[in-house]
C-alpha cells in the first residue's frame, strides 16, 4: 500500500503538469531572460505568461503587481521591512499572536531594535478581536501584517475588512496568504490589500519560488538591490523554471478551486467526524465554521504529538503536530497557546491537511489507524486509567517542575 500524505500545509507534491512545464527550462531554454539573443528571448516570454497566470489566480489588476521572490518568508520580510523604510517616522507594527514565524520572528527582532509590536490576541476558537484592532490603528503604525489563513488550524481571518480599516487611516496592509492562495477565492483588485505573500510549494509548484503582490501605487522599497529584474523591486536573475512551474500551478489551482471547496472539504469532514466518533477525549481546535477546506486540527488529550506522528509514520501516514518536541522548542505551538488550549491537549494536537490528490480510501485508512495509536500512547500515559482519564488528572499526576 502506498503511503498517505496528509501534510499539505507543510508542503505539497508538484503537479506532474507543473514539472512537465518546467523541464524545457533546464536543458533547452536555459538563457537569461535579460539577454538580447534568442536563448533569452523565449524565457522572457515564458516568464511573462507565468506572470499572467499568477495575476489571474490572485485577481490582481496588473501583471506588474506580481514581484517574483524566492519564497513566502522572503515576501513577508520584504513587505514589512519595505514599510519601515517607506515610513521611517512610524515605529509601530500590528500583527497577531498566531502568525507564521516568517512574520513573528522578524517582529521579535524589530522589537529588539526599538519598534513597538502590537500582537493581536485570539479567543479560544482562534478569532481576532476587531475592536482591539481598531483601537491600535493609528498613524503611528507603519504596517499591519495579518495572515489570510492560519497554517495550523486553517482559520480564516477577515483580511479584506481589516485592509479597509487600515486604508481608512492611511496604514499599509500586508497579508501572508501562503495557505489561502488556491484554496479560497481571492480577488485583489477589489480589495485595499497593499501586499500579499504567496509560496509556490504550498500549491503544487516547486519549493524555492514565491510572490509578493504589490498594489500599484503602494509605496515600496526593495529588500535586494542589484539588477533591473522585477522592475528593480527584487534584483537577482529569475528562477525561470520555477516561475514557469508556479504559473502552471496557478492555472491548475484556478481549475480546482471549486473541487477543493467541495470534494476535498467533504473528505476533510469525513476524516474529522470519523476520528471524533471513535476516539474519546479529543476535540477540533480553531473555528470549524470558518476555515480552509483542507485542514483539520484535532487535539488528543493526555498524550504527546510526536509519539502519535511516529506511530502514524510506521503505519505509512504523514501528518504534523503542534507539540514542543516535534520542533525541539520548549513550548507547544504558539497558536495552541494563544487559543489557551491546556498543555495536556496542546502537546497532543495533530494537523491533517489534505490536497486534491487524497482519496476516500486513504481517509478511511487513517480513520481506522488512529484509535489503536491513541489507545497505545494512553496506555503509557500517567494521566490515563483503565478506560478513561484518571480522576482529576492534573492532581493525580503533578510532576515536580510543573
Amino acid at each position: 500500500m502506498a503511503d498517505i500524505y496528509l501534510d499539505n500545509n507543510a508542503t505539497t507534491q508538484c503537479d506532474p503538469k507543473v514539472v512537465e512545464a518546467m523541464l524545457p527550462f533546464f536543458l533547452e531554454q536555459f538563457g537569461n531572460p535579460s539577454s538580447i539573443h534568442s536563448f533569452g528571448a523565449g524565457v522572457g516570454k515564458a516568464l511573462g505568461r507565468a506572470r499572467k497566470q499568477i495575476q489571474a489566480l490572485l485577481g490582481a489588476a496588473h501583471d506588474s503587481e506580481i514581484i517574483l521572490t524566492s519564497c513566502g518568508t522572503e515576501s513577508d520580510n520584504t513587505a514589512i521591512l519595505s514599510a519601515l523604510k517607506c515610513f521611517p517616522n512610524r515605529k509601530e507594527i500590528i500583527t497577531t499572536t498566531v502568525e507564521h514565524p516568517a512574520v513573528l520572528a522578524l517582529c521579535t527582532q524589530l522589537e529588539k531594535e526599538g519598534y513597538t509590536i502590537h500582537r493581536l490576541g485570539v479567543d479560544n476558537k482562534g478569532r481576532l478581536d476587531l475592536e482591539e484592532y481598531k483601537r491600535l490603528l493609528t498613524p503611528n503604525v507603519a504596517i499591519v501584517s495579518v495572515m489570510w489563513a492560519n497554517n495550523e488550524t486553517g482559520n480564516l481571518f477577515p483580511v479584506v475588512e481589516m485592509a479597509e480599516m487600515a486604508h481608512a487611516v492611511g496604514v499599509q496592509f500586508h497579508t501572508d496568504a501562503v495557505q489561502a492562495v488556491g484554496k479560497v477565492p481571492i480577488n485583489l483588485k477589489d480589495t485595499k490589500i497593499d501586499m500579499l505573500s504567496v509560496s509556490g510549494h504550498k500549491l503544487h509548484a516547486p519549493k524555492g519560488i514565491g510572490v509578493l503582490y504589490l498594489k500599484r501605487g503602494s509605496r515600496f522599497r526593495p529588500l535586494f538591490r542589484g539588477g533591473h529584474q522585477e522592475r528593480g523591486r527584487r534584483a537577482g536573475t529569475e528562477n525561470a523554471a520555477s516561475v514557469v512551474g508556479l504559473g502552471k500551478a496557478c492555472e491548475l489551482a484556478m481549475e480546482h478551486i471549486e473541487f477543493e471547496n467541495s470534494h476535498v472539504k467533504a473528505l476533510r469532514d469525513r476524516l474529522e467526524q470519523g476520528i471524533l466518533a471513535q476516539i474519546p477525549n479529543c476535540f477540533v481546535t480553531g473555528d470549524p465554521g470558518n476555515r480552509l477546506p483542507n485542514t483539520a486540527n484535532i487535539a488528543f488529550e493526555y498524550i504527546e504529538g510526536e509519539g502519535i506522528l511516529m506511530l502514524l509514520n510506521k503505519a505509512g501516514i504523514a501528518a504534523s503536530s503542534g507539540s514542543a518536541c516535534t520542533s525541539g522548542s520548549l513550548e507547544p505551538s504558539h497558536v495552541m497557546r494563544a487559543m489557551d488550549i491546556p498543555y495536556t491537549a496542546a502537546h497532543g494536537t495533530i494537523r491533517f491537511s489534505l490536497s486534491r490528490y487524497n482519496t476516500q480510501v486513504e481517509v478511511d485508512r487513517v480513520i481506522a489507524a488512529m484509535p489503536p495509536i491513541v489507545a497505545e500512547l494512553r496506555r503509557l500515559s500517567p494521566y490515563w486509567g483503565e478506560d478513561g482519564p484518571v480522576t482529576e488528572p492534573e492532581k493525580a499526576f503533578a510532576p515536580v517542575y510543573g
Binding site: I303, G305, E306, M310, C325, S329, L380, P382, Y401, G402
Partner: protein, 306 residues
C-alpha cells in the same frame, strides 16, 4: 524528523515495563507539562537487600522521552539502590546509542525520576535543582539558562569565554548571535556594554629566547609545553561532563590526544576534538591536526627502502 537511533525506536515502539506498579514503595514524578515531557517512575525495593526488584514507568512525552523511560527501567532493575544513584543521564543516552542534542533533556528527566523515586523510598524530600532553558548551542546541547548562569557567576564578557566555560558556540558557530544576546542582556544588568571587538583576557606567553626564533618561533620543548597548556585549559570543561583528555604524542602538525571517561564514548567526541583543534590553531598560530590517540596504534604502512 529526528534522527533517532534504532535502539531509541525499538524502545519507543516496544517499550518495556509500562504502567502502574502495585505495591511500589518508591515513586518519582518529574517533568514539565508545559514542555510536554513528564514521567512517573515506580519502583519496588527490597528493604533488606536494597535491591530494586521491579520498576515500571508511565510517561507523557515524545518518542525519546518514552524510550528513555523504558531504558531507565531496564538499566535499574536488579541494581542496588546505591549503584542506581550513580546512573547518569549519559548512561541512559548511551544505553539508547545516543540521543539528538535537543532530546538530551529526556535522559536528564530519567535520571531525575530515578533520584526522586529513591528519595521517596527513603522517605526523603527530593530537591529539584532543575532549570531548563531554550537550547542555544545544538552542537554541544547547551541551553540558555546554563550559559546565563555561567556568564553571571564568572563575569564573562565574550563569546570566546562562553565557549571556554560551556563549550557552547565551539562547534558550527551558528549560535554566536544567541550567545551575544545573552551576554548583552546580562552585561547590561551589571551596568556594562557588550563589545564584540573585545578580546578575552589571555595570559601573554613569556617572550621566547632569541635562539628559538631560528627554529620557527619556538623550540620543540616550548611548543609542546604550549600545546599542553592549551589542553590543560580545556580539561575543566570536559570534566564537567564526566570526561577528560590527555596529550599523547606530537608529530609535526599532527597532535594525538586520548579521550577519557564520558568523552571516549560521547557521540560528539569528534565535535570536541574539532574544538580542541581550533583552540590549538589559534594559540599556536599554525595549522594543527588533532587526531584521537587510537590512530597511533595503526601507523600508516611505510614502504620499505632498498
Amino acid at each position: 524528523m529526528w534522527d533517532y537511533s534504532d535502539k531509541v525506536k525499538e524502545h519507543f515502539f516496544q517499550p518495556r515495563n509500562v504502567g502502574a506498579l502495585p505495591g511500589a514503595n518508591g515513586i518519582g514524578d518529574v517533568g514539565s507539562i508545559s514542555c510536554g515531557d513528564a514521567l512517573r517512575l515506580s519502583i519496588i525495593v527490597d528493604p533488606d537487600t536494597d535491591v530494586i526488584e521491579d520498576a515500571k514507568f508511565q510517561t507523557f512525552g515524545c518518542g525519546s522521552a518514552i524510550a528513555s523511560s523504558s531504558a531507565l527501567t531496564e538499566i535499574i532493575k536488579g541494581m542496588k539502590v546505591e549503584d542506581a544513584l550513580k546512573v547518569t543521564n549519559d548512561d541512559i543516552a548511551d544505553f539508547l546509542d545516543g540521543l539528538p542534542p535537543e532530546k538530551m533533556h529526556c535522559s536528564v528527566m530519567g535520571r531525575e525520576a530515578l533520584q526522586a523515586a529513591i528519595a521517596n523510598f527513603k522517605g526523603e524530600e527530593w530537591a529539584d535543582d532543575h532549570e531548563e532553558g531554550a537550547l542555544v548551542c545544538k552542537c554541544f546541547a547547551v541551553d540558555e539558562k546554563l550559559i546565563e548562569g555561567l556568564v553571571r557567576a564568572n563575569n564573562l564578557h565574550t563569546v570566546q569565554e562562553v565557549t571556554n566555560y560551556t563549550k557552547a558556540g565551539g562547534g558550527c558557530c551558528a549560535c554566536h548571535e544567541g550567545i551575544e544576546e545573552i551576554l548583552m542582556r546580562v552585561m547590561q544588568e551589571r551596568g556594562e556594554i557588550f563589545d564584540a571587538d573585545s578580546k578575552p583576557a589571555v595570559v601573554e606567553p613569556e617572550p621566547l629566547p632569541i635562539a628559538a626564533t631560528a627554529t620557527g618561533g619556538m623550540t620543540t620543548v616550548q611548543r609542546i609545553r604550549r600545546i599542553e597548556a592549551v589542553i590543560e585549559s580545556i580539561r575543566p570543561n570536559l570534566r564537567m561532563d564526566g570526561g577528560d583528555t590527555e596529550l599523547v604524542e606530537v608529530d609535526g602538525n599532527t597532535i594525538y590526544i586520548k579521550m577519557i571517561g564520558a568523552c571516549s564514548s560521547c557521540g560528539m567526541a569528534s565535535m570536541t576534538i574539532g574544538g580542541i583543534q581550533q583552540r590549538l590553531m589559534e594559540e599556536l598560530g599554525e595549522f594543527i591536526k588533532v587526531v584521537p590517540a587510537e590512530k597511533l596504534a595503526q601507523p600508516p604502512r611505510k614502504v620499505a627502502h632498498g
